[in-house]
């Protein structure tokens, strides 16, 4: 088990280097010059442009820029500075990540609790009224685009009922984040509910379930331990990959509720060709993905005793 984890951790290194290099090259190959764009419509003389490029190290060849960048990042945890405003990328990320984590955690909790809850109800009552209602409800959620849901929630709760402020304030409390978290987590909630429901309905008919019931185990134990543990494998797989998506892909939700999180920084960095910021962000997201996928693989062994890692 220990060796397995160690091997997986070592595998992260080439993945990490490969993704950062790819992103770096992609940003560099985008049309548009970040230094030229700093001066907008009115432009600047060649001397100023050259001085600015030199100051930012953009006059060096791409491979050299990448090497310096990786060196600083690995040795000093220094992600460089932003081209446009000269702020350290570490500060930019440090500003954006806490709120994104807060939001992602809340959204994750919502989809976990309500998704699995609805899924269990549906799975145990497969084919009956409750199950059908849940299926219709989740179908409805899946078919509504995120920004529509966002605007509906704002319209109803902020403008008509006045229960919440339409936008999240600059120093948000957890309570303010509930509405955006619902918008962010609802789509995944529907998938989680459907996955759980199908998986449970299937496993209800499995041999080991019949054995467990025949042994005379109490119903709570049959469902809570025997059925749930085995039915959770596909759900956990989905949830694991969803953490990364919640963090990096919240751009629509963020802009609807005026949250200054990671999604907005990614969009802005792309449009401003901020290579350093983008690579820094993606690096962190890649690490999040790698770590969660490792956790999921390890969780498989916990959930299903038949799976072993030598």
């Amino acid at each position: 088990m220990g060796r397995y984890v160690a091997r997986r951790l070592l595998q992260m290194i080439p993945v990490f280097l490969g993704t950062t290099l790819l992103i770096f090259l992609m940003v560099h190959s985008l049309p548009g010059d970040p230094v030229l764009a700093m001066f907008g419509d009115k432009g600047a003389d060649p001397a100023t442009l050259a001085a600015k490029r030199h100051e930012l190290g953009l006059d060096k060849p791409t491979w050299q820029q990448y090497l310096f960048y990786m060196r600083d990042m690995l040795l000093h945890l220094d992600f460089g500075t932003q081209i446009r405003n000269g702020l350290p990328v570490t500060d930019v990320l440090g500003d954006a990540f806490p709120i994104t984590l807060q939001l992602a955690t809340l959204a994750f909790a919502i989809e976990l609790i309500f998704g699995i809850g609805l899924g269990v109800i549906g799975g145990l009552r497969a084919g009956r009224l409750a199950d059908n209602l849940i299926l219709i409800f989740t179908l409805l959620i899946i078919s509504i685009p995120v920004f529509v849901l966002g605007f509906i929630i704002k319209m109803v709760f902020a403008f008509n009922l006045g229960w919440i402020d339409p936008n999240v304030s600059t120093q948000p409390e957890w309570g303010e984040l509930i509405a955006p978290a619902i918008v962010l987590g609802f789509l995944s909630l529907a998938y989680v509910a459907r996955l759980t429901r199908t998986s449970m309905a299937e496993n209800l008919r499995a041999d080991y379930m019949r054995t467990a019931v025949a042994k005379g185990l109490p119903r709570r134990r049959v469902i809570g331990v025997h059925l749930m543990r085995n039915s959770m494998i596909p759900v956990i797989t989905f949830l694991g990959t969803d953490i990364g998506a919640l963090m990096g892909g919240a751009i629509v939700t963020e802009s609807i509720f005026n949250i200054k999180g990671v999604g907005g920084v990614i969009a802005e960095s792309i449009s401003r060709r901020e290579g350093a910021t983008l690579v820094g962000l993606v690096t962190i997201l890649v690490i999040v993905y790698l770590v969660t996928s490792l956790l999921i693989d390890l969780l498989y062994a916990v959930l299903d005793p038949r799976i072993r890692y030598a």
């Binding site: 088990m1 220990g2 049309p31 548009g32 030229l36 764009a37 700093m38 001066f39 907008g40 419509d41 009115k42 432009g43 600047a44 003389d45 060649p46 001397a47 100023t48 442009l49 050259a50 001085a51 600015k52 100051e55 446009r84 405003n85 000269g86 702020l87 930019v92 954006a96 990540f97 806490p98 984590l101 807060q102 955690t105 704002k154 403008f159 402020d165 339409p166 936008n167 304030s169 600059t170 120093q171 948000p172 409390e173 957890w174 802009s255 509720f257 005026n258 200054k260 907005g264 449009s271 770590v291 490792l294 956790l295 390890l298 969780l299 062994a301 916990v302 005793p305 072993r308 890692y309």
Partner: protein, 546 residues
């Protein structure tokens, strides 16, 4: 026990993962909201995007940064709504030949840190901003001053051969002289722009830190900057200028979209808004009543001609009547009313309102919609080569709708095919323009740097102007521009430029479309909200109710 052992590993990994993350919360409270009289210390909020760069006086060239800088710094002069000058930090600004200017400062002014504002504060700041090593985006503003080519050689890679501008001379603590390389009658107007602000002595020790928390001499003191969230400024009680703040301070709140800002305005979380988003334009008058604002904004949108493009150059240079015809095929009145929802006003010339030297109907008939005449002109000019034009624009600026409308209008009126040439974003658009890859026409917007008509003519249409990206070049026009530039007085210069504007019709370097307008509003908590010709709310006159 296998499961239990695995679980241990999982928990271990989870702890590692959690250790890397930490979340924070907490929130400060606003003031109380009792209605009625004016609170001289009341603080109000306004929306503002994150300034693109740090707040250097010499590098703040976009509206977000400028919005803050105007409040933090007071220059020698400022301009009024009609474009004329008023003295602020200067007691007098005199010249006899528009070439040597003498500045006398009002004595007794101080920076926010208590140090006095002297002529040295100005001269040192300008020298710093002009120097090539500091790579300030606005350094070319000092190019009129003697010695600029020494501190800021233009060629790539060249080194400066002097540290200071030879044309700046400190006479005593409260006066200095500026010597220009040639007469610039409107130089006084340029002095109102941010790069000409004074800098406190503390700036030079650590410019980057100072740009993060600028120390100025203006009506407001910089208090804090929570990046991408908000900037807070408070009234400077020791301010001696004419525009002392009538409120206690301003909080600039950052919004990702205009729509979210408007929602906060409606729900009372925002007091002054700078611009209403397209979604809310049809309703904001109804929502805000007499708190809705429509004002002129001195900026112009036009379609510029890429004269280097094969279409206009080969086999022979395009006849100006073709461009005139295209201009007359655009139904500006309808497009501004429908597609642009009244946020623009049809242009009748190249210089917008609120600018010194604005003249009504400068372009004559060329900006009037007349399909028959348009067809006739294009035919007389030999037709559009290829019978097809492209209008290049950036897809991220909300331009697609009106470009389509302009194209439809042209095609309907003249049966010349017209296609919008969309570039993914502003950067890609700009690169295509700089590398001369524009196929035929491109969108070109210009907002004032200083409110004199030369800014809208010389800086766009002179052969060597940075804003002239379409290779427009007419010798006689250059000569007239240079003559207007060296006129003895500001009045004469403005008059000569007015004549040049009238002549642009003969060359059509660009097709003027419309002038910008400010569509904005404010909350019930504030009064006295007005907007300058640069489209920004004027902060110091805002009064906050108790």
């Amino acid at each position: 026990m296998r499961g239990a052992k695995s679980a241990k590993w999982v928990t271990g990994a989870i702890i590692v993962a959690l250790a890397a993350t930490a979340c924070g919360g907490g929130k400060s409270d606003g003031g109380s909201d009792a209605k009625g009289t004016v609170d001289p210390n009341g603080i109000f909020t306004t929306d503002l995007g994150e300034p693109e760069k740090l707040l250097y006086t010499g590098d703040t060239m976009e509206s977000n940064g400028a919005g803050v800088m105007k409040a933090i710094y007071s220059n020698l002069v400022a301009y009024k709504a009609d474009g004329s000058l008023e003295m602020v930090n200067a007691e007098s600004l005199t010249t006899t030949d528009s070439k040597t200017w003498t500045v006398k400062l009002k004595p007794g002014w101080t920076f926010h840190d208590g140090t006095p504002v002297t002529s040295k504060s100005y001269v040192d700041a300008w020298n710093w901003n002009a120097h090539i090593d500091n790579a300030m985006g606005l350094s070319s503003w000092f190019s009129d001053i003697v010695g600029y080519d020494k501190v800021h050689p233009e060629a790539e890679g060249a080194k400066a051969t002097a540290k200071t501008l030879a044309g700046l001379k400190v006479v005593d603590d409260n006066s200095f002289t500026i010597e220009l390389t040639k007469a610039v009658p409107y130089f006084g107007h340029k002095l109102a722009y941010t790069p000409f602000a004074p800098l406190a002595a503390s700036f030079y020790a650590n410019p980057k830190a100072a740009a993060e928390k600028p120390v100025g001499n203006g009506p407001y003191k910089f208090k804090s900057w929570d990046h991408k969230k908000q900037i807070e400024i408070v009234r400077f009680d020791g301010y001696k200028g004419p525009n002392k703040a009538k409120n206690g301070g301003v909080i600039f709140k950052n919004y990702t979209t205009l729509e979210t800002a408007y929602e906060d305005l409606k729900s009372g979380n925002l007091d002054v808004i700078r611009q209403i988003g397209p979604k809310d334009l049809p309703v904001y008058h109804q929502d805000l009543g007499n708190r809705a604002v429509d004002a002129d904004h001195a900026a112009i949108q036009s379609i510029a001609v890429a004269f280097y493009a094969d279409q206009w150059k080969k086999p022979k240079p395009v006849d100006v009547r073709v461009i005139q015809g295209l201009s007359m095929a655009i139904d500006r009145a309808t497009i501004t009313k429908t597609v642009l929802q009244g946020t623009r006003e049809p242009a009748t010339g190249w210089v917008p309102k609120g600018i010194l030297g604005y003249q009504e109907n400068a372009a004559g008939d060329v900006t009037k919609f007349d399909p028959a005449k348009a067809k006739e002109l294009i035919k007389a000019g030999g037709g559009v080569p290829g019978n097809k034009i492209f209008i290049q624009f950036n897809a991220d600026g909300g331009h697609k709708e009106w470009v389509d409308a302009v194209c439809n209008s042209i095609t309907q009126a003249t049966s010349v095919a017209c296609v919008g040439d969309s570039k993914t974003d502003f950067q890609a658009d700009l690169t295509a323009r700089k590398s001369k890859q524009v196929k035929s026409l491109y969108r070109s917007a210009w907002s004032l740097d200083y409110p004199v008509n030369s800014n809208f003519i010389k800086d766009l249409f002179h052969t060597s102007a940075a804003g002239n990206q379409g290779d427009f070049s007419v010798k006689e026009l250059d000569a007239k521009i240079e003559a207007a530039d060296s006129a003895a007085t500001l009045d004469q210069s403005v008059k000569q430029y007015q004549a040049v504007e009238k002549e642009l019709v003969k060359y059509m370097p660009s097709i003027p479309l419309w002038y910008y307008k400010v569509n904005a509003g404010y909350s019930e908590k504030v009064s006295g909200v007005t907007y300058g010709q640069d489209g920004d709310p004027i902060l110091d006159t805002v009064e906050v109710k108790k």
